[in-house]
């Protein structure tokens, strides 16, 4: 099966391994990711704070390119890119004037209605079809993860149909169950990591992230599982710093969901590049004899 793929800027830079993991995991699942040609930045969470027209226009160009492929679905693994693209698509649908105004400048116009999917939506179809379970090669015994969704995978600035429970999503848990892993229940799965505040308002962001780690530790978790590269970078890169500030002794690896899926498919640390984390992330896997 072919599916359009929008990696976004982060997956070509600080979360490059997430791009690579997506390609490897989806290939094993029989899904061919076709990267959009000449895609542009989605504007992320910044565009809406600078200019509302631009916040729709940036993802609109990508939607036009995606539609021109003739494919019926596009997967976007980054939460910010996914949210911005989905929201823009709905705003364009709602306002024909805005759409005409933006289309005027686009060589590939927004006309159809390609399905914009999060990574979870696509992976869940492979759970339903049984394909994911078939590919499980290795039991991930001893992993006690908490699934961390962050904000914008389930909460949107406008009313869009959300394919999961907003306050207590279960998509990641369902996928992990197919791998034989039972994720722990906890309170902070949709709380905010601070996103860009980790850079521009460090004091506020560290407070938020410390609360998240505290609850995970209290629940007995030994790692986080995420799909958002912003959450991953924040919780990973600053964990040592904010844990020290808040008297938290434990350090928990922040795994991308694709890392755990890849491991259960039999891939190793080097193939998945799990050695590119700030918090030591290979040790736990070795201790549990998972690699």
């Amino acid at each position: 099966m072919d599916i359009a793929y929008y990696p976004g800027c982060t997956l070509q830079a600080s979360a490059e391994m997430y791009d690579l993991q997506n390609k490897k995991v989806f290939e094993t699942l029989g899904i061919n990711l076709r990267e959009l040609e000449d895609w542009n930045c989605c504007g992320a969470t910044s565009a809406g704070k600078i200019n509302d027209f631009l916040a729709v226009a940036m993802p609109a160009r990508n939607i036009g390119i995606a539609e021109s492929t003739g494919l019926s679905e596009m997967v976007i693994p980054c939460s910010a890119c996914y949210s911005r693209t989905l929201v823009a698509q709905h705003q364009l649908e709602k306002s024909p004037d805005l759409k005409a105004d933006i289309n005027e400048e686009l060589s590939k116009k927004v006309e159809g209605s390609i399905k914009v999917s999060s990574i979870l939506e696509v992976l869940l179809t492979t759970v339903d079809s049984g394909v994911l379970e078939e590919k499980v090669d290795r039991e991930l015994k001893g992993l006690q993860p908490v699934c961390y969704y962050g904000c914008i995978l389930t909460r949107f600035p406008i009313d869009v149909p959300v394919p999961d429970n907003v306050e207590n999503p279960q998509g990641m848990e369902t996928i992990l169950r197919a791998l034989g892993v039972d994720a722990l229940d906890w309170n902070y799965k949709t709380d905010c990591c601070g996103a860009s505040a980790s850079v521009n308002d460090r004091e506020a962001a560290t407070q938020l992230m410390a609360r998240i780690v505290k609850d995970a530790v209290a629940r007995g978790a030994n790692c986080f599982v995420v799909t958002c590269p912003m959450c991953q970078l924040n919780m990973d890169a600053f964990q040592d710093e904010f844990c020290k500030q808040h008297g938290i002794e434990e350090r928990l690896p922040v795994y991308f969901l694709t890392e755990l899926i890849g491991l259960s498919m039999g891939m190793d640390i080097e193939t998945l590049q799990i050695d590119r984390h700030f918090v030591e992330s290979s040790k736990l896997l070795k201790e549990l004899n998972l690699v």
Binding site: E16, D38, N40, I50, C192, L208
Partner: protein, 202 residues
């Protein structure tokens, strides 16, 4: 100490409510002050007196100055928790995003200059090449902050920040999470034209 009661001018208040409602797409008058937004706001401890419900109230009362310059507008992390839980479907994060733009248009200096620098540096870098280059964007962002520190004689702060970023950058390099070279989109001209159109529309 009691604060002086605010003089309410219906014309001014209505104009402010209308502008914020039109631009943010939120029906502010539907707010009945249940404070469910305040209860769930993750930065409520940081924003002091101003919670999402009180921000809406300030706008309804026509207090433009306070609505533009307060901690919530500049420290809101746009997590959309308030709006998701609001029984009247008011997305306050869209209101804080709108007020950031209005504050800039009114030439008020942002309460938190780093936040404004961040989003401008991000969009400028993304527009320049069509794709965002993390190093280019972070470089211009840090430069703006450093300049602001230097002209305000905050030499220690500038030095500390430089050291912090240098240490962070070295770890990024070690972990191969620093990207070299430039990402770009050939069709960036389309985005640049759209940005121009957007600026003309305000």
């Amino acid at each position: 100490m009691t604060a002086t009661a605010r003089e309410y001018t219906p014309e001014d208040a209505n104009a402010l409510v209308q502008e914020v409602a039109d631009r943010s797409g939120q029906n502010l008058t539907a707010c009945y002050q249940c404070r469910r937004c305040a209860a769930g706001c993750p930065v409520a401890e940081e924003t002091g007196f101003i919670t999402p419900d009180r921000l809406v109230r300030l706008i309804l009362l026509g207090d433009k100055e306070k609505a533009l310059v307060n901690e919530l507008v500049w420290r809101c992390v746009s997590c959309y928790t308030c709006g998701t839980r609001c029984p009247n479907e008011i997305q306050t994060a869209r209101i804080t995003e709108t007020l950031k733009k209005m504050s800039e248009e009114a030439h008020r200096s942002p309460l938190r200059s780093k936040v404004a620098h961040f989003h401008h540096s991000f969009i400028n870098a993304a527009l320049r090449r069509g794709r965002l280059n993390e190093m280019e964007f972070m470089g211009t962002y840090e430069l703006k902050n450093t300049l602001k520190d230097l002209v305000s004689f905050r030499f220690k702060a500038a030095y500390d920040e430089l050291m912090y970023q240098a240490k962070f950058g070295l770890t990024m390099i070690k972990l191969r999470r620093m990207h070299y070279g430039f990402l770009s989109a050939k069709g960036r001209g389309e985005i640049k034209r759209l940005a121009k159109k957007g600026r003309a529309r305000g």
